[in-house]
């Protein structure tokens, strides 16, 4: 479903992504981990067509996003880390807007609207202006809108930021369900427990390069950390082991 081929993104002062290659299969829930500034969001934005790679290719279901962006986007749903929306629209109007952007007609949108609002528990506030929504409410709205056209691929940047425990648990359940039905999810996250609990495979990016890819079992074998949690593996790859020493030096 996703194929990243020698993907590179250079900015004038820094190489954000350095020649990465990766494949994600249909129906897979892929977790993309890495410390702050490692290049997760840049990779995701290139996959969503928001940022143009300096070199390399992104293939979505066989479509090259550089050559056939609209075909690739038609089957993709994108959830950004910060849900900037049109504050003067109501939640319902925004869902209609999103549906039409993906070419859905009135009947299709009507059919999808009610179940989505119910799924994300938005009925109470969906007719208010978005400017009055909390961060979590906006996040739920963006998630609902990204599913309105039944995407084959869902690209998610930090899905749990701003969600309350109930919301987070709901999102986990929804992601699992749609994966079962064949949708692929590419998800970046800082929450290691979520990645460990939900993802079929995990990729770890560090300074713009992928340092490890595999299932939890494969990653444990690679690092010799059998039986340990994902954070130990993560720190092995990203060098966070020394954090204890740093905290000691700060003398909290």
């Amino acid at each position: 479903m996703i194929k990243l081929e020698n993907l590179t993104k250079k900015y004038p002062s820094v190489t954000a992504i350095d020649n990465i290659s990766l494949s994600v299969d249909k129906g897979e829930l892929f977790g993309f981990l890495g410390p702050n500034g490692a290049g997760k969001t840049t990779t995701i934005r290139m996959m969503a067509g928001l940022v143009k790679p300096t070199s390399g290719n992104v293939f979505i279901n066989g479509w090259n996003i550089a050559n056939d962006p609209n075909e690739a986007k038609m089957i993709t749903g994108f959830i950004p880390d910060r849900p900037f929306l049109y504050s003067k629209l109501t939640g319902r109007e925004f869902l209609w807007f999103a549906g039409r952007l993906y070419g859905l007609n009135k009947e299709d949108i009507n059919k999808r609207l009610e179940p989505l609002m119910e799924l994300f528990n938005m009925e109470d506030y969906v007719d208010n202006l978005i400017e009055s929504f909390s961060h979590g409410m906006k996040q739920r709205l963006v998630m609902a809108s990204s599913l309105i056209h039944k995407p084959k691929l869902l690209i998610v940047d930090e899905p749990m930021v701003g969600l309350d425990p109930k919301g987070a648990s709901l999102v986990k359940k929804i992601f699992r369900e749609i994966c079962k039905k064949g949708t692929t999810i590419f998800m970046s996250t800082h929450t290691l427990e979520i990645a460990e609990e939900m993802c079929d495979r995990i990729g770890i990016i560090q300074k713009g390069t992928i340092v490890a890819v595999g299932t939890m079992k494969e990653l444990r074998e690679k690092t010799g950390t059998e039986g340990e949690k994902l954070d130990s593996i993560f720190f092995k790859f990203t060098g966070g082991d020394e954090i204890g020493e740093v905290i000691d030096s700060l003398r909290f």
């Binding site: 934005r45 969503a48 067509g49 928001l50 940022v51 143009k52 962006p69 609209n70 075909e71 986007k73 038609m74 993709t76 994108f78 950004p80 910060r82 900037f84 929306l85 049109y86 003067k88 629209l89 109501t90 109007e93 209609w96 807007f97 999103a98 549906g99 039409r100 952007l101 993906y102 070419g103 859905l104 007609n105 007719d127 208010n128 202006l129 400017e131 009055s132």
Partner: protein
């Protein structure tokens, strides 16, 4: 803990420095154009005041009196503009500014916050007025042969004057915010400002300054000016500054100047201290009220939605989504309504100007003149359409704001998105331009040939003007600016106006010769010769070529530049 006012101003000063230090691509060109534009305006203002004052000085007996009256009016105008500008700036800096969340969460000192915000507000609302007031005061200094002490007095009287205006404005803002939510208040005040500017313009326009060039009426105007009762209350700080400068310029009695100077400084200091007390008493409650004012009850008009459904029914779903969203947001965002005021004002002023043209007084034959004026009208109407386009078409892309990621990540494609914006704006502008040109030509009573040429030309030009508006807006998007009125004030807006003027100018110049041939043929009853027909064809061919080029090229560049835009 940040423990002084300068510390609280540190981020502002550093950010300003960094903006200069970390210059983006093309910022030299932008800076050059902006400075050039500012200098041209500055020089224009200087020339106008220099000429007016030279003229006043030449009038015996009451020339100095007129110059003093003008100075008094200038200061009274500054006084009102500065107070109003401080009210609006204070609402943002004292109550809406995002940094307040951070500052208030720290153990801050009220006095430090007050002085830093006072400095920030007065500086932000006054620097431009002060900058553009310099040509006025320099003109006075040169014409009335002043030495160095005049400029020293100007600075020392100007400073407390600005502080008085600032404290008064901030005081009004604090009183208003205590009772109304700051965010709504800012929108409403913005509308009032525009309304205020329009009224001032109309007052000026209805004085008919063109009478100054009519020798028959000249003395009546001078009489009128002398009779103008500009408020000269001794309680107005503007009058104190006027008196200080007048005593140096005309009376040469330094005693009055010293007294008024003391009055200005003591008032400025007293107001600063008293406003500090008000700040301590009201700030925290008022700021809390601002936070509560974020949620808004809304009403959704079913009839409005039905009408919209009916109008947009033939459109494809993606195109419709963009148009419907834009229309709904337009009607809900009070800041965008200001654009309608501006639009109406531009049109009414334009129509009024055409209707009062004294054509019967000109020595040229009326028919001949009517056609020439109609031809000039074509250029002016183009200018009006550009002025409207810079407020509607140009900001169309930037208005997507931070939510632009939705469009860019959707399968709609930026090409389709921009053309969608183009057609909505084109329909609106072309209807307006045709009404404008036909109605003004009707007022000018032009013949059918000129009416047809004007109608077709403006129709074609509207394609180019709209394309330039959308194209420039897409090339220089300002997604971080929420207020529509601020979007055209950047480099892209200026570029659009320059390109638009060049485009309109080239079309009018190219059409001048063919129109002249036709007009002369009609006037002299001699048919257009075959060589003239060749020239006519070449000129009209070029007109068509430029129109097609300006219609397609800016859109193409806009799509390319917007596709490459990654700062989301």
């Amino acid at each position: 803990m940040i423990n002084n006012s300068l510390g609280l101003l540190y981020p502002k000063i550093t950010q300003l420095k960094n903006r200069i230090k970390f210059k983006g691509e093309g910022s030299y060109t932008k800076a050059f154009l902006m400075v050039g534009f500012g200098l041209a305006f500055w020089a224009g203002l200087f020339i106008v005041f220099f000429r007016v004052l030279t003229y006043f000085k030449g009038i015996e007996v009451f020339g100095d009196f007129l110059a003093a009256k003008l100075l008094s009016m200038v200061f009274l105008t500054f006084f009102s503009i500065l107070i109003f500008s401080n009210v609006i700036t204070a609402i943002s800096s004292f109550f809406i500014s995002e940094e307040l969340q951070l500052i208030i969460s720290t153990p801050f000192n009220y006095a430090d916050l007050y002085f830093s915000k006072l400095t920030e507000t007065i500086f932000n609302s006054s620097w431009m007025v002060l900058m553009f007031s310099l040509p006025v005061f320099i003109s006075y200094g040169i014409i009335y042969e002043q030495n160095f002490s005049y400029y020293v007095f100007l600075i020392f009287s100007g400073l407390p004057f600005v502080v008085i205006c600032g404290t008064l404005g901030i005081g009004v803002a604090m009183a208003l915010v205590k009772y109304f939510p700051a965010k709504r208040l800012k929108d409403v005040l913005f509308l009032i400002t525009i309304f205020f500017v329009i009224i001032v313009y109309f007052m000026f326009r209805f004085l008919k300054p063109e009478r100054l060039v009519d020798p028959d009426k000249f003395f009546t105007v001078i009489d009128y000016l002398s009779a103008l009762k500009a408020p000269t209350s001794p309680f107005l700080p503007s009058q104190w500054v006027t008196d200080i400068l007048s005593s140096m310029l005309f009376d040469k009695v330094p005693g009055t100047a010293v007294f008024n100077m003391l009055l200005l400084w003591s008032t400025a200091l007293a107001f600063t201290v008293m406003l500090g007390w008000v700040f301590n008493a009201v700030f925290y409650d008022a700021w809390n009220k601002t936070q509560e004012g974020k949620t808004a009850a809304i009403s959704i008009n079913r009839f409005f939605n039905k009408v919209l459904d009916l109008i947009l029914f033939p459109m494809s779903p993606p195109g419709r989504s963009i148009v419907e969203k834009d229309i709904k947001i337009f009607f809900r965002d009070t800041a965008q309504w200001s654009q309608i005021f501006i639009l109406l004002a531009i049109i009414v002023i334009y129509l009024y100007n055409i209707s009062v043209l004294p054509m019967e007084k000109n020595p040229l034959p009326t028919v001949y003149l009517q056609n020439i004026i109609s031809f000039i009208n074509l250029g002016l109407a183009g200018f009006v359409i550009s002025a409207v386009a810079v407020r509607f078409a140009y900001p169309a892309v930037s208005l997507e704001g931070d939510a632009f990621w939705i469009i860019k990540s959707s399968p709609m494609g930026l090409k389709r998105f921009l053309w969608c914006k183009f057609w909505v704006n084109f329909i609106f502008l072309v209807v307006m331009s045709e009404i404008l040109i036909i109605f003004t030509n009707y007022l000018l009573k032009v013949d059918t040939m000129m009416m047809a040429v004007s109608a077709v030309t403006i129709f074609l030009m509207t394609f180019g003007i709209t394309s330039l508006g959308i194209g420039c807006g897409a090339s220089y998007p300002r997604f971080k600016i929420e207020n529509i009125a601020q979007i055209p004030t950047g480099f892209g807006g200026l570029l659009f106006m320059i390109l638009s003027m060049l485009f309109i100018g080239s079309i009018v110049v190219l059409e001048a010769r063919p129109v002249y041939y036709f007009m002369m043929s009609e006037f002299t009853n001699v048919p257009v010769s075959s060589s003239q027909w060749v020239s006519v064809s070449i000129h009209f061919g070029l007109v068509l070529f430029i129109n097609i080029l300006v219609f397609l090229l800016p859109m193409k560049i806009g799509i390319k530049k917007l596709s490459a835009f990654e700062k989301l």
